[in-house]
Every structure is written in C-alpha cells, then in structure tokens.
Amino acid sequence: MKLSSKQITGIVLGALGLCFPLFITLPGLSFAGHVGLGIFFLAAVFWMLEPVPIYATSMLVILLQVLLLSKEGLLFPETVADYTPTGYTAFIQTLASPIIILFLGGFVLADAAVKYNLDRNLTRILLKPFGSKPKYIMLGLMVVTGLLSAFMSNTATTAMMMTVIIPIIARIDANDPLRIGLILSIPFAANIGGIATPIGTPPNAVVIGALSAQGINIPFGEWMLLAAPFAVIALIICWLLLLGLFKAKATHIELDVSGTFNTSRNAIILYVVFATTVILWITEKSHGMKSAIVALLPVAALTVTGVMDKADIRKLPWEVLWLVAGGISLGISMQQTGLAEWIVTGINWSSFGAILMIVVFSGVVILMSNFLSNTVTATLVIPLAVSLASSGVAGEGFNLIIISLVIGVSASMAMMLPISTPPNAIAMSTGILESRHMTKAGFIIGLFALILVTLYALMYWPLIVN
C-alpha cells in the first residue's frame, strides 16, 4: 500500500502530537494532562487527515489510554500528586456503555428491516398519499427518508431511496431542474432525519454518551421530544428551499408504489419486535425501563428466533461502535487528567453571553462537520462543553444539556459538500447534479440551521430541559 503525502503528513503530525509532552511543559497542566493532550492531538490529527480509517483511530486511542493513562499501564502504576490513575477497565468498558448497546439494538433492527425489505415496503405505502404532483412527491420522499433515517443509518436509507428515486428521475426531462431538487432532497432529508432519535446517527450517541458520563441520563423519548420537532421544521424549510431553488417544469410524475409486504414467519416476527421495541423506547417514562435495556430485546429476540443469523450479525457495522466508544473514552481521560478543565480555563467564557455561546458552538460545529465526519466533529467539540459545565467557568445561563444538543444537532446539519456526509456522496455519485448545486443548497441550509438551532436553544429546549 502506497501512502499519499496527506497520509504521511497525518502520521508525522499525529506522532509529534503524541510525543509533545517529552519536549514541552505547559504551565498549570499535570504530567498526566500532558499525556492526555498528546493522545488528544494524535486523535484529532488522525481524525482530520485520516491517514488511517477513523474507527482505527478510535481503537488506537483506547489502546493508548490503557497503556499510558491507566493504573495497569506503563506511566502511572501508582497515584501521583496530581493524578489518580483509573483502572484500564474504565476505558474498555466504554464499548459496552448504555449508548453503545442502544446503538447495537438499532443496528440489529435496521439490518433486519433491510433483510426483509421492510424499509422499501414502508416507503411504498407511505408515499401513496402524496399523489403525483412534483412538489408533494418531493415532500413525500423527504418525509419517508427522514422517518426511516431516524431509525436506520442515514447512509443505508439514502442507498435504499436511490433505488426508488433513480427510476423516477430517469423519466423526467433531462433539462428539468426538478431532477436536481429530487436527488438532493434524499441525502438532505436523511441527514436531517438522523437527528430525530438517539439511534438516528452516531453524533447523537456521542452527545448522549458524554452526558451520561456526567450522570445526566437522556431517555429515548426525551431526546425525541427535544430533537424531533427540530428535525420536522428543518425538513420543511429544506423542502421549501429545494422547491424554490430548483423550480420544477414537470407537472406530473408517475410513481410506482406497488409491492407486497413479506409475510414469512421471520418477517412477521421482525415487524412485531420492531414495533414493540420502538414503543418501549418512546414510552420509557411510563415503564421506567432504560432504552439500553430495551435495546437488548431486538438483539436477543431476533437471534433466538433465527430472524437474524450468524452472517447477519457479522455484517453489523461494528466499527461504528468502536468509533463512538473511542470518543467517549477520550472524553473520560480528558476529564480525569484535568486536561479539559485546563483547556477551558484559558478563555474568559463568562464574557460570552448565552446567545453568543450557542451561535459560536453551532457555527463552529456546522463548519467543521462540513469537512470532517459528523461523529468526529461531535467527539472533538463535546469535551469542551462538558468541561465548561464541570469547571463552572461558563457564565450564568450555561446549560450543559442544551449546549450538548446544539453540538449534536449542528453536526448533522452540515451538507454543503459531497464529502460532508456519506448520503451526500451517494447523491453526488449519480451524476445527476453538479457540486455547485449541492454547495449552494447546503450553504443556505447551514445558515438556516444556525438560526434554527439558536432559536430552539433559547426558546424551546429550555422548556423541556428545565
């Protein structure tokens, strides 16, 4: 394998970052904090320049933390004055943290849905009421995409919707801007839909995981209450924007909505388990069973009944779980070494008003996540918010849950470039649109997102959180 110059740069910078405590001593930061910062530098550089896949970076991060920061590791066999090392299990058990198990449950459901064509059949049924007018068809496609991507990965949803939409687009006149509007509506709706539930997309997991490390539990239903109304409004704005930017010439589109549900024993079991799980997730308040516990239901039920076999289990996107776990683990060591607190005390945060703080966090996250993975963006920014809260340097009116939501939601609202999210890359690959179309629409959506996040953070989220 030949390394590109970008990869070599990444590896060199990352290695330098990791080794920096050997050369530089920062005032006010413990030695453990230096080591933690070294690991953070390496992770940040690797995640940004991607000399290795981002999940591999997460695996490396966990190894480095165990080796360098744990009680069983090389550097801190005993407690020192300014650092009490934790056992290595603190780092590896992030792999079984509640949010990871919740995601596992979501993965099993989503993969079973694909296996038994539930996603496609639901799409057909749900599209029926939207008729044949282009603008309502676009709305229908966006609603269905958003709904599915709230429970499945945004990328898998986009791939499935492409099989529905490419034949439709093929029948539309090649000069009709509607083609561009339709092809953009899918990835945009998928990105937005992922916001709606905790399992919708990994940045949500990062946020929920970080909060839970602070002892703040966000139930499934509460996340939906906070985030779903945002997703709905964002979806409507996005729809209106695409209609305005790409005015349809066609007045009528044929839509093939025929298809029958799989009624085999296995498929029926899946429908029942899927519905039961989602209902239990949403009604956590009434029965008190945590969503991670409920998530074990589909995992156990679908494998015990043979609905999902060994091959299906192997096919699950395990690397996402490592990616998120690595991020949570990084957050833990930043807290424990005093690194996070050291970083935030350098800035006079109390001079930031509440509004400015929200706008800055949202803006920075949207900008970063246009170029980086959404998950990585959330992972890199969330420790800052957490330490602002725990160190108490932020001014009054700072609410950790709200800032965390700002970060999580903003990470999903970056869609200017094909590289911004995998759904964007899929839409771009069809050759139906040019990147300037995506950039223009994505830029405007990013601006609206900034405004919308700010409004929600100031007016709606406080009503639910407080």
Partner: protein
C-alpha cells in the same frame, strides 16, 4: 484514478470493430477500450493490461477469428486467473448451437449478442455486465453510479453494511 477496468473487444473485421467501438464511446471515459484482431493478440493485450496492474472487466468476442475461434478463446480465458472474473459476451452471427452451448457450459458465457445488434442493445448489455462486474468485485460502488445502472448499484449498496461516519 490509477486502477481502471478495461473493456476488451476481439473482432477481426475492421468495420465491425469500428462499429462496436463507436457504439461504446460513451463508456470510454471510465472504462478504457482495448481491441484485438485475433485470439493471439487478445491474450497479449490481456497480459499487458494485467502487468500494468489494471483489470479486464468485460470481453466482447466474435466467434469467427483467424486461428483459435472465439468460443475456444473464451473457454481458455475462463481458466486464467486474470480473466476468470471478467464478464464474457459472444458477439456473433455465426456460432452454431453446439459452439454456443459449449461457451455457456465451459466458459461461463454471460451473454450472447447476435449480429446485427442495435447501439442501444449493445450498450444495455455492456451496462448490465459491467454493473454485475463491479458489484461482484468492487468495494466502493460510488464511482460507477453515474455511468452504469445506478438503481442496481444502490440496491447492492443497501445490502452492504452502510454507516454514517
């Protein structure tokens, strides 16, 4: 892109060769076309493609060729490591039933186009075969979405583990 998937056309009549190359011009920006006039030349071309670390995705082959005939060539190619995965299409008017059966059974013939063909027909077959080829052999299908069958490629992607990171 340094790694390319080639289309190889084996045909001894120049006019026919030109017609095929013309009909497939739309593929050429992504799938370079190589031509050969005989079985012997075809094998040389394949070797040189293989040596420059590229691959042959599709072989369109006439039956009547000087020397070894098309069916024999395809049977031979189906046993070689460089070409056993390549999609194989017989483009001919003159292969008898016996030869054709032999090609299907022994060379894993993927398609049979009888002369004369239409441009649309040929390009549909090439699209279908190359789509099969990339689905079977490529990890990343995105680069092929625009040129090949996007619906089938999307469907193939849907059945692979897809994630958001």
């Amino acid at each position: 892109m340094d790694h390319q998937i080639y289309i190889l056309i084996v045909e001894d009549e120049l006019e026919v060769m030109d017609a095929i190359v013309n009909d497939l011009a739309a593929f050429e920006d992504q799938f370079p076309i190589e031509t050969a006039n005989s079985s012997e030349e075809a094998k040389q071309v394949i070797t040189s493609i293989y040596e420059s670390e590229q691959e042959v995705g599709l072989i369109l082959c006439d039956h009547i060729l000087p020397g070894e005939n098309g069916v024999e060539l395809l049977i031979e190619l189906s046993t070689l490591t460089h070409t056993q995965n390549s999609k194989k299409v017989l483009v001919t008017g003159q292969a008898g039933l016996e030869d054709t059966v032999k090609a299907v059974n022994q060379a894993d013939l993927n398609h049979y186009i009888s002369k004369p063909w239409t441009k649309e027909q040929l390009s549909d077959v090439v699209t279908e075969q190359l789509t099969d080829y990339v689905i079977e052999h490529k990890a990343n299908l995105l680069p092929f979405m625009a040129r090949l069958d996007g619906t089938r490629l999307s469907e193939a992607m849907r059945n692979r583990p897809l994630t958001d990171h």
